[in-house]
Symmetry: C2
Subunit: 248 residues, 2 copies
């Protein structure tokens, strides 16, 4: 198994960071790694916001409801970005109507996520710890206001990066058979039954990680995930539409 695959296999999200600064050289490598990712039709429809302002970091930590967001050495927000290309097209006298389609929404979100994962992998290859912050979307409009995100941009995910101050166990993944399908999607009627062993493995993992935490199985976690989230999160589609995306 080569070095890169070993790295991928050892991914853990890091939620505790030391105070050590990341050098500018390493930050540049992170940004360049993101830029080398493939993008849809080479349209490069994403942007990276490097949040260095401590007040803004604190605001994002409050939105995400996680203190470690503000404690990370660096904090990036990756945005879908059709704005740049809209400006270019308008300058060239073109209508930008297509940008309101779900198709273009997907293209830009895809560019953003794929670039984000390149940053995460580059960071981990340099001994840094990372955690994705989906939680900033608890209030997408607040993030848009905070970072002055214009029409045709949307904050798809945050990434906190720093030197790790913890070394969590690897989290056990679903059995391969559950996510892998050959030629067509297979549903198993006995899936919940089949997942009993996996449920036990996940419980053991949580038990090892924190003796004081209530121990959830995987399927219990799924059941809990079906509960309603904050209202602003559940109505996020309105914010997406008001940014110009997903008109049709």
């Amino acid at each position: 198994m080569n070095e890169t695959i070993q790295l991928l296999f050892h991914h853990r999200s890091i939620r505790g960071f030391s105070t050590e600064n990341i050098s500018q050289e390493k930050i540049d490598l992170l940004i360049q790694s993101a830029q080398h990712a493939p993008t849809n039709n080479f349209l490069q429809q994403y942007s990276i916001i490097d949040v260095t302002d401590e007040m803004k970091k604190k605001t994002l930590a409050k939105i995400g409801n996680q203190t470690y967001i503000a404690e990370s050495n660096r904090l990036f927000v990756i945005t879908a970005d059709l704005h740049r290309n809209a400006e270019i097209a308008q300058e060239k006298g073109k209508s930008t109507e297509v940008l309101g389609s779900f198709d273009y929404c997907l293209r830009s979100f895809s560019d953003a996520f794929i670039s984000a994962q390149n940053m995460v992998i580059a960071a981990e290859s340099m001994g840094l710890g990372t955690v994705y912050l989906g939680s900033i979307l608890n209030d997408a409009q607040a993030v848009i206001d905070l970072l002055h995100l214009p029409k045709y941009t949307f904050p798809v995910v945050g990434i906190a990066i720093g030197y790790p101050d913890q070394s969590p166990e690897l989290k056990p993944r679903l059995p391969q058979i559950e996510i892998y399908h050959e030629n067509e999607y297979h549903s198993s009627e006995r899936m919940v039954h089949d997942l009993e062993n996996y449920d036990q493995t996940v419980s053991q993992y949580y038990d090892l990680r924190n003796k004081n935490r209530r121990i959830d199985t995987f399927t219990d976690q799924i059941a809990k995930a079906m509960e309603k989230h904050p209202e602003k999160r559940m109505s996020m589609l309105n914010v997406l539409k008001s940014q110009g995306f997903m008109q049709y």
Copy 2:
């Protein structure tokens, strides 16, 4: 620069493949690499369809309008997958209403893209060539039918993988200043003017790649991208909704 970052910096999409087979051991490493990617709240809301049936590959090549899709040694379709967790939740007597939100759509699409990029990086680390196939979304409903994708799943992207039979030049990326922002999004009124040098660099790249192809600048490509795509692609949101996503 470490081995992994060197690999990220050398990414090129490969659209010509040799007939050499990829070993099962390597395929397993690809799937496992995808599985080790971080997922939203550990919900693992994606699936991988390994398309080995030659007729299905040909159908996907026809949908994507690119012959190299059928010529690749292996072809994967990565799907957003809320179906698995919906089954688990229903078994546990829970309402699955939240799965119809844009929030859950985004969570599952994000899981799919991030896992896909892990597969791409793992493949490249083993000397394989890859290309993302956004083009399968020229007819999302046909892909859904072909792969028997149930409610709450959606084919977000294809990946063709094989041993490379070509060695294209690295494609020059936008100047860092265009995609990088500190603390807030900056728009430049002079962007199109500022991109003149980059336009020349991109033209030179295409000129080197293929003397017979019309040479486009980057900004020309953007202008062209604003033209209408196939009707089925422009109305993809209907397909997404009929799969159960994005009800609110």
